[in-house]
Every structure is written in C-alpha cells, then in structure tokens.
Symmetry: C2
Subunit: 229 residues, 2 copies
C-alpha cells in the first residue's frame, strides 16, 4: 500500500527528482545523473521495479540519468514529443495516458512556456510541474524556445483549472520549499496569481538572468538521455 | 485526496521532519525550531489545520518547535509518556491510537533503546521510526537512558514483525537516503538484520561516539517543548 510520490533533492542544481511508488512498480521523473546509484538504491529498498523514466522537458541545468537507468534496469524512457529527445522510445503528447503497475495512470499535460515542449504529469492528484509552475514562481522563458506568453496560457488555462487541492511538486526550489497546491498558487503565486498577460510578459522579458551554467553541456546531453553521443 | 507523508530536512542536524497530510488536518512529527516558519508555510499552502505536534523522543541533537507551534496554531502537543516532556498535554503509551482529521489513526509503538521512552508512529503503512531504526542503521544507545539490549528487542520484536512493505521514514539520515521498508531492513540492515543480541550489544557498546554537540542545550529545552523555562 504505497502509492506515494517520494521527493529527492539534488543540492547542486536544486532539482527535485520524484519516485512515483505504486505497489510493485515505480516511475522516476527527472532523475539527475550523479544520483543514479541513490535512486536505484531507493527502488531496491522499496522493492519496486522501474517501469518508466520520464522527463518533463530538456533540462538546461543538469544532465539526466534516464539513458543509464534504462541500460541498468530495462525501464522504458518517455519524453515530451516536442523536446527533441529522439532516443526516448515513448514520445508523449498532450492528453496521453501512461500506464504502469496494475492500473496506475499518469496524465500528460502539454504546458509550453519554459520550453516549447515542456509537459506536466498528473498522478493521483499530484501534479509534477517541471519548470512550468514553481512554488510562488515559475520557470524562466528566455532561452530554448521559451515563451512568456505561452507559459501564461499554460499555467492559467491548463494548471490553475485543476482541482484546488491538487498537490504541486515542482522540479526545483531554491528556498527549502517542498510542495504546494494549485489552490494556493492560484491565489498567491507572486508571478501569476493576479497579473495580466501583458504584465507577466513584461516581467518575464526583463528578468535579465545569466544563462544556466551547464546549459551548453546539459541540453545536448539530455537530447541523448544523458548518454555519450 | 492527500493522505501523504511529506518529508522535510534540516541539513544542520540531518533531521527529517514529517507532515502527515490528510484531507483537512495535518500532524507534524519531530519539527525543528529553526524551521518553524517553513513548516507553517507548508501547512498554509496545503490548506491544512495542524491538529497535533508529535515527538518520537527527547532529542539530543536539535531543539523542537513543538511549543511554539502550539502557541501559534492551537495544535495539541503529544509526546511519549516515558520521555519526561511534562508540558505535552497528550502523554502517549504503547498501543495508544491518536485520531485526527475525519478518521485518521496514528498507532503508538513503544520502542525503548535509543532512549527508554522512545516511540515509533504508524500511519497508513508508514512507520515514523525516530532514532530507533534508521536506514541501514539504528540510533545510538550510549546516553540518555539508552540500552542496546532494549533497542534490539524493540526492533526485532516490534518493528521487524510489521508487514514487509511498511515504509520506513527515519528521523535522520546522513547519506542522502530518504526512505526504506521494513522488509529491506529485516534482510539488509547492517546492524540488525543478522546479528545475535550479544553481538549487537557488543557492537553498540563499543562505538565510542562523541556526545552530540547540542545535547546539554537540547535535552532540557526539549523537556519543555523547546520553550524558554
């Protein structure tokens, strides 16, 4: 009787990886290369077979271990069809349902904005929001096919319309926050709760952030599931 | 539809605090003083009223925020009856069942060893094991009414007899591990899975560990729920 999301942290890139633990099988979302052994050890302790490794998008700040996990466990890899991650054998589109364990369902929600291909995953009332919606924030939209306008529409039309108690599990947090809810973000997210599209676009287009340190390494590596070319 | 344990970390003392998130109410286990605001913010984002703050034992390595949380939220505090935490209005004994939310039940398991009063809490197949059973380890038994012999009996007779898929959520981990299961620990725990009582007692009595840095501050403070005397 598990059926829990387990949240694991990479302190270097402040990335959250998730284990979706069902009865006999598990799914990993956004695993980080250097924590491959940690993640496998968790699966072993929980007695769970890895069914799928999912990416929410092509990450610019860390390298995935998806390819290596596939080699080591036989799990399938799945990625959003719009992310250019060609070696993933399952290419996911909006509305797709990924099944694992006996009857677990992961619903795919296409949420362009942080990148054009970004998706969120919904499982048992838990939303894994990647870099689309963060706790009291959102992903940046200034590189890699990002679009502030697209992100605004994705969040307000596809995420804020989910039931309010839906648990929000982001791909990053930089302030020690672990989890939120759709209801709280709708009412309180300082970037998105009460801003017009125009205001949001102006805000996002003037953040003037430096490029992610690992971008030139991570993006091409992640296109190949983190495996050497 | 929550009904999840949420694991939060204090990197200074490597302590895990847990939120037991039900539908409208929550319980906190082993909160740490300096994360009081973080924990309250989580409850607010989740839209949950704090029903109880629980201690697994009187901690020697950090100061609890239980008293402050009680002041700020009106939650009740509950502690094991054998831990000398007199200001906790609910004193828990082996076999007690603590109820919260509509019909949630937390079962109290007395597990002397790390301290004489230590308990574990069982909720929905999740065991919150305090410093009694750690992932591939166990709490020390060389101070504060600790007893290696008692810990051995507690673990082998009261924890290893739980269903094997029971999820094990410890109060500490020093190596990036988050969760385990009773089944894995029964088979693999390097201190407890295949050692006789005599071997275990000899091992524990020869660890020669330094006293916890904060012990002289933390133990008296925690007897008063972390509030000034």
């Amino acid at each position: 009787m598990n059926f829990l999301p387990i949240q694991l942290f990479d302190s270097e890139s402040s990335t959250y990886t998730y284990i979706l633990a069902a009865d006999g099988e598990a799914v990993l979302i956004d695993p980080v290369d250097k924590h491959c052994e940690r993640d496998l050890a968790h699966l072993e302790r929980l007695g769970l077979r890895l069914a799928y490794v999912l990416e929410t998008h092509n990450h610019a700040d860390h390298v995935t271990s998806a390819g290596r996990l596939r080699q080591l466990t036989g799990a399938k890899t799945a990625a959003p069809s719009g992310c250019g991650i060609a070696p993933a054998e399952v290419q996911l589109n909006h509305g797709d349902v990924l099944r694992f364990d006996a009857s677990e369902e992961i619903h795919v929600i296409h949420t362009p904005g942080h990148t054009a291909g970004s998706v969120c995953y919904l499982w048992r009332g838990n939303l894994f929001s990647g870099d689309t919606l963060l706790i009291d924030g959102c992903g940046r939209t200034d590189f890699q096919s990002g679009s502030a306008e697209a992100l605004y529409h994705s969040v307000t039309e596809r995420l804020f319309t989910l039931p309010e108690p839906t648990m929000l599990w982001p791909a990053h947090d930089y302030k020690g926050r672990s989890v939120s809810t759709i209801g709280w973000e709708k009412r309180n997210n300082s970037r998105l709760s009460s801003r017009s599209l125009e205001d949001f676009v102006q805000l996002m287009n003037n953040l003037n952030l430096p490029p992610p340190r690992l971008m030139d390494v991570a993006v091409p590596a992640n296109r190949n599931l983190g495996l050497p070319h």
